[in-house]
Each structure stands twice: as C-alpha cells, then as structure tokens.
C-alpha cells in the first residue's frame, strides 16, 4: 500500500517523465518518499476518523477512478475519444450482479462466489470491448467518439428491456462483495472493532476500494510507461508516422480499447457494490460524459490526474448538497434557486472549458507545477 503512495506523487505528467529524473537528485527523492508515506498513512487511517458520509462517497469515487483510469489511457494516451465508457461500466456492473446473485423473482442469477463473479465480469466487459474493436480499431479518434454513442444508447435499451437481467427500470439489488472468510457487508453480531472503531460496510468497503484503485493505478502507470503506452502516444501524435516506425496501429488501437473496457468493467463492479442497487437509468449518456469530464479535469493521459478528477466529479455534487445551506445562491431541490446538482453541472462544464483554454494538462499539470515549486524551495533551503 505504501508503494502506491510513494509512487503516486511521481510522474503526474507521463509524457514528461524521465527527462528530469537525474536532475532531481537525492534530496528530491527523500521529499518524495516522505510525502508518499504521509499520504499512505493518511488514507489508511481515514476510516478511523471520517464520518460514514465521506466513506460512502469515497467508495463511489474509487469506482469512478478505476473506470477513469481506463479512459485516460484510451483518450489521453491513444487519442481515441470514447463517449461509450458507461456502456462497459454497465457490462461490469450487471455482469457482476448477474453472476453473483441468486435467481430471484423475475431475475436471473448464477450465484457464483463474488470474487469469481467480479473477475468474470471484468472479462465480460473486455469481451464486449473486443467485439467492438472491428469498429474501434479502424476509426480515427473523433469518429470513434460518435460511434461509441451507439453503445450507450443501445446498451441502455437492452437493459431496460431485458428484465431478467436488470430487473427492468426498477433496478435490481447487488449482492455484497465477499472474499472467502471475510464479508464486506455489515454482519449483525460479529462487528469487527479496530482501535475501538466499529468496522461496518462503509469502513470495509473503503479498504476494498482503496486496494483495487491502487492496483489499477499501478498497472495503468506501468502500461503507460511501457511499450504499449509509448506506441499509443506515437499513434496519438501521428498515426501515419507510428505506422512507418513499425507500430501495428490497428492492433494497438484495439488493445487500448480492450484495456479501457476492462478497466470500465472493474469500475462497474465497484460501482454496483457501492450502489447496492443498480438501475438502467444510471448507465446513460450523462455517465459517459462524466467519465470524460474526470479525465479532462484531471489532465488527459495522466493516471494520477484521472483519480483526482474522479474524486472531484463524484464528490462535488454530494458535497454541495450537504452544505447547500452555507453556500450562497444554492437551494435544495424544490426550493427557489440553483439546486446543487445543477450548480455542480455548471461547474464541471465551466471547469472543462477553462482548463482546456488555459491549462490543457488539467489538475495533473497544476500538481506537477506545485511539486516542482516545493522541490525547488526545499533544495534552496
């Protein structure tokens, strides 16, 4: 776990990595390790202090972050726009539910162990991505953006009509996650106490979400730094030149799409567990746009940025709603004024426009600049 935090401060801007590493020197590295350990310690003890509200919100943020990590590789690294990310999230969410749930009234279920069900759900999302690669790998970025719109609307249509799978528009409850010997739901009578804090569903899910997000982050970072990432950046930069220097363009675009759909599937599993009950309405065009907002606000192509963007986009509406009384101009739904949801949407739209105009690197670039400033000051003193 501390490994994640140590590295999470590094390489916010993957394109620029490696150029200044030697110059940073030993002092810079020490500062990095220190900062990393602080972050790691903080995230590990948060459930001991934070309210339920924040823990539950965080689970949604983790789910969003995992899916956003996939999209940042596809859109940020390979330059392939996707407006269909929510479709693969839905495949993951419903795949998990279908495979892990028992058959109920009018719904079908396979009742597999949750771990197996989630692995299979991710593979299922990957398969869905693979089936779309004949289109995804041949189209250039911008065409793909519109073509993937079809996935979202088609997928939602299927969900609304396949009642046995989705429970129709009323939705379907999601079985809780569990690993052999440990349950992540609130078990009556056998509550786990850690340092005197009762560990119930939200606390347990925090660690689950954290672990999955950390693993997803590390994998995506090594992909971006590795051969595939370099090839995708070459394709993004200039497809023809990438082909000339020997990158199999079509195949690698397919890989990127497959990878991003599997990430979306994993994010979908987490999202389903976080919700506890999923309805087809969730997985529409708005959700697909939300993922795009996350990766743009975080900084296209940056895995650390994707996590920051996911946290921001997921949490802002809930936070605005919670503190609606103390924010001037905000009103709860039903009252006169701008509702928190509307305010959050306006903020997202404005943030995307402003960032792309003035700071296309997004939060990652801003963070990188702050980090450089701090390092410079440390070195000087």
């Amino acid at each position: 776990m501390s490994d994640l935090a140590v590295t999470s401060t590094a390489s916010r801007v993957p394109n620029a990595e490696g150029t200044s590493r030697s110059r940073r020197g030993r002092l810079g590295r020490a500062v990095k390790v220190l900062a990393g350990l602080t972050v790691a310690a903080t995230v590990l003890v948060i459930p001991l202090y934070a309210e339920r509200f924040w823990l539950q919100l965080a689970m949604f943020a983790f789910a969003a972050a995992v899916a956003a990590l996939g999209l940042t590789v596809l859109t940020g690294q390979a330059g392939q726009l996707s407006l269909g990310h929510s479709f693969f999230v839905a495949v993951g969410a419903y795949g998990y539910t279908l495979l892990a749930a028992d058959s109920g009234r009018g719904t079908v279920g396979v009742a597999l162990p949750p771990v197996l069900a989630s692995v299979l759900a991710v593979l299922l999302a990957g398969l869905a991505g693979l089936l779309f690669t004949p289109i995804a790998a041949r189209l250039r970025g911008i065409y793909l953006g519109i073509a993937t719109l079809g996935l979202v609307f088609g997928g939602q249509h299927l969900l609304f009509n396949a009642g046995g799978l989705s429970g129709g528009s009323n939705g379907r409850s999601v079985p809780d996650f569990a690993v052999p010997g440990f349950r992540f739901d609130t078990a009556v009578g056998e509550t786990l106490f850690v340092f005197g804090v009762p560990f119930q569903r939200p606390e347990k899910l925090w660690y689950l979400g954290l672990a999955v997000t950390a693993a997803a982050y590390l994998v995506s970072r090594s992909i971006i730094r590795g051969r595939l990432g370099r090839a995708l950046r070459a394709i993004n930069h200039r497809e023809l030149m990438a082909g000339v220097i020997g990158v199999p363009v079509t195949r690698y675009k397919g890989y990127a799409f497959l990878l991003s759909s599997m990430y979306a599937g994993l994010g979908g599993v987490l999202l389903a567990v976080a919700y506890g009950r999923i309805v087809p309405d969730t997985f529409g065009f708005d959700l697909a746009v939300a993922y795009l907002l996350m990766v743009v606000i975080g900084g296209l192509g940056s895995p650390g940025g994707a996590i920051v963007g996911a946290a921001f986009v997921t949490c802002l509406p809930a936070i605005l709603e919670r503190y609606a009384d103390s924010v001037p101009g905000l009103a709860l739904p039903g009252a006169e004024g701008i509702s928190p949801a509307v305010a959050a949407k306006l903020a997202f739209g404005a943030a995307v426009i402003a960032l792309l105009l003035f700071e296309p690197g997004g939060a990652a670039a801003v963070g990188g600049r702050i980090r450089k400033g701090v390092l410079r000051r440390v070195r000087r003193s």
Partner: protein, 299 residues
Amino acid sequence: MTQFLQLLVGGLSLGAVYALLALGFVVVFRASGVVNFAHPALVLIGAYVTARLALPGSLPFVVALLCGVGAAVLAALAVQRLLVYPMAGKSIIAVSIMTIGVDIVANTEIIRRLGVDALLPMRDPWGNGVVHVAGLTVPQTRLAALTVAVALIAVIFAWFRFSIWGIAMRSVADDPPTAALMGVRRAAVAALAWTLAGVLAAVAGLFLTVFPTPGVAPVTAAAALRAFPAAIIGGLDSTSGAIVGGLIVGVAEVLTQGYADDLFLLGQGFHTVVPYVVMVAVLLVRPAGLFGTRELHRV
C-alpha cells in the same frame, strides 16, 4: 399501404429536419475541423428562445422565430470566436471535448429555466392541424418541416455551388493551407460556417418541438443528438452525405416507431436506438461513412 406511405412521409419530414442538423454539423467540421458536440445546445437555445417569445399576446410567431435563430447564431458565434478560435492548432479531440463542456453548461441552464414542468409548449401557427392528401392524413407541422427543410437545403447547396463565399468554404474544406495561401480568409469562413450551423440548428429546433412532440423539453436534446449518427452515416466531411444520412435516420426511426407492434421483439422504444444501430452497421462496412473521404495510407 396507406400506413406505410403515411409513415414514409412522416419519416422523410423528420429526416429532413435531421438533415438540417447534420448539415450544420458537417459544415462546421469542414470549415474549422471541429466536431461540435454543442450542436444540441444550439438547437435547445433556438427552440427555447422561440417558444419563450411566442407566448400569446406578445410577439408574432415569425418574429419570435427570427429571434430564436438570432439567439442560436449568437451562441454559435460566441463559441467559435471565444472558445474554438483560440484553440487553433490544439488537438481536435481537445477542442471537441471543450464543446462538450459548452453543451453541458447550455443544456443545464436551459433545462433549469424550463422549471419543474420541464416543458415549454411551442405556440406555432400549425398547432395539431392535419392535411388530407391523396388519402393520407399528414400533420401540418410535418408538411411545413418538409417544405422548409427542402427549401433551405436547396438554397444552401446553390449558395455553396455558385456564391463566392460558398466557393471559399469548399476550398477551405478541400485544403485549408492552400486556401489560406490563395487569400481565402479562413477565420471569416469559419465564422460563416458557425453562423450557418446556428441558423440550421434553430430551424431544426423549431420542428423538433412542434406537434407531435409536446414542446421544448430535455428530450429535445436527445432528439438533436440523433443528428450525430446521421452525419456519421453520410460521412463527416460530406454535405450531401449529411442529407442522405439525415433522411436514412429519419425514415428508419419513424418506420420502426410505426411498426413497433410488429417489432415488439426488439423491445420498447427501439425507434430511439435505430439511428445508432444503422450507424454502427454502416461503419462496419465503410469506416468513413457512405460519402466520406476515405483516407488512404500505405505503410
């Protein structure tokens, strides 16, 4: 047979409206290389302003419509001048994502203004009147949509063909650097394209919100979104493709809606998905659309 003909007329009329939208979309893409995801927002802005100003006892409908067109054009020009123009040279993906941001802001604001009902009826002169022609019963609004759209498309194509600005637009679409070297003012051409897109969006917005739909509502944006598959089917850089794509999408949508009882296997509300299904099918065979320029690279 009567039912089929009736649906066909309805489909062609809706298709003509989609064609207007797709045409505006394609014109913008050709002139400034941007996929304008804010196009549905322009539709909403035009329709909203028209419906707001056409309330009984205020402005005559034609004046209200002109104001709606003006509002959509102003919005389009603002997006082009203030947001897209400064981004020249940046990646097309970034600019297109920015227009998504514009779409979110405009959509959210207009839907908020629609209030709790989320519906603003369009007080157009046609209402729900129908016309009987050769045994067919067709709503007046559909005939009006068809007539206006065909007239507009004819005027615009003639203008592309013969006017000096039309030639400038075609030359920019063909080869931007050469056009610039020949003295074509690309900034002016881009502004003109966005203006045209605003006009077309507002007119299409009017016909997307009259009978048989209840009025300006959040679903209007979803309907406008179906112009994207229309443009892709025709080929993103082909104006005549946009017309063909729009007609295909409109006819397919109305036919599946009309024969929904026979197609119950495909599920309820399949007609809203049909445009996307057709698009994916076309893309499988022709990745650049029916009339789009195919890029050939040999490596």
